[in-house]
């Protein structure tokens, strides 16, 4: 799946504020031409890609209900890794190409833990690979199939994350 994302300076400033990244360059970027400054927050690509994904189940739509933990899949975020290959500049448009990666399972305290990678490559308009993201999600598979319903996710969040760790 490929989606186009726009690293908007105004959104970068909002994101930087949310994570306490007070580098003044974010403010300075607001009045700059696209591509003239860099220094986007290190983790912003994950959020940018998900914000741009119209099919993402965790988005909040007008009048819609917030989704349960883990969304319909019940999958929790176990790991996140980024590789930065070129400076990420405010104002650029990137193509985010997402594909499934490895899957594996191992026993946990409450059942079998199913891990799945999601790989996303971020390309600039000229085709340059700017960054890579590797997200690992985990879902618990219990002996009783009914207990794997998404609604059980909230109760098990801490346990799942501990077991995933």
């Amino acid at each position: 799946m490929t989606i186009e994302i726009h690293i908007e300076p105004e959104w970068l400033a909002l994101f930087a504020l949310a994570i306490g990244d007070h580098d003044l360059t974010y403010g300075a970027q607001l009045g700059c031409d696209a591509g003239t400054r860099l220094l986007a927050p290190l983790t912003c690509l994950r959020a940018a890609a998900e914000l741009a994904d119209d099919d993402r189940e965790l988005r909040l739509w007008p009048g819609g209900e917030p989704t349960p933990e883990g969304g319909a899949s019940g999958q929790l975020h176990a790991e996140q890794h980024f590789e930065y290959l070129a400076p990420l500049r405010a104002g650029v448009r990137l193509a985010a190409m997402t594909s499934p990666g490895r899957t594996w399972s191992r026993p946990g305290r409450s059942g079998v833990l199913d891990f799945a990678e999601t790989l996303t490559d971020f390309y600039a308009a000229d085709g340059e690979l700017v960054a890579r993201s590797r997200k690992v999600g985990v879902r618990i598979r219990r002996p009783d199939p009914e207990s794997t319903l998404p609604s059980a996710g909230a109760a098990d969040a801490g346990r799942l994350e501990r077991e995933a760790g």
Binding site: A18, I19, P41, L42, A47, R59, L60, H77, G153, A164
Partner: protein, 165 residues
């Protein structure tokens, strides 16, 4: 730890308070920036019903706070890789500390490649995120708290610790 032959391995670490008493507003701000409106992050009754003491912070908020500290330490543009695992949920009311430790370094012609270990924990000492970053520090980088000079010294600027061979 490689470094220059004959140079004693430097030890260096830096600790920072990432968040003091993370609030529901902090979590909501990240929900807005990231588009992740999962109920467990924004609906306290839902989170409590799931066994949590309060709202659950996004894992990527914890990673984002950690990444901001990393970037402020070494410079955004110097980070090549950044990743880690989410070990435990972070809740509203938690305070977070992060320690960055120099794991290894290798001298290059123009600076140094460094591997940094990151550990973010709540104030009771429980790790919530552990990660690793690979950074390339240009020789004599003037703006970063973590600097490097080719004589094998790692210099900490400003109010940071100064360590040398």
């Amino acid at each position: 730890m490689k470094g220059d032959p004959g140079v004693a391995a430097p030890t260096w670490s830096r600790t920072c308070r990432l968040a003091t008493c993370l609030s529901g507003e902090d979590i909501a701000r990240y929900a807005e920036a990231s588009g992740d409106w999962n109920r467990i992050h924004v609906d306290e009754a839902y989170a409590r019903a799931g066994g949590h003491p309060s709202l659950v912070a996004h894992g990527m908020l914890t990673m984002g706070l950690t990444g901001a500290f990393l970037a402020q330490t070494v410079g955004h543009a110097n980070v090549r890789c950044f990743g880690g695992r989410f070990l435990r949920p972070v809740h509203a009311g938690d305070s977070l500390d992060c320690t960055i430790t120099l794991a290894s370094w290798e001298h290059r012609a123009t600076g140094a490649d460094m591997v940094l270990d990151l550990r973010t924990s709540t104030t009771d000492g429980a790790a919530v995120f552990v990660g690793r970053a690979t950074v390339v520090i240009p020789e004599g980088a003037p703006l970063s708290p973590l600097s490097y000079e080719t004589n094998g010294e790692i210099l900490m600027r400003g109010d940071n610790i100064w360590m040398a061979r």
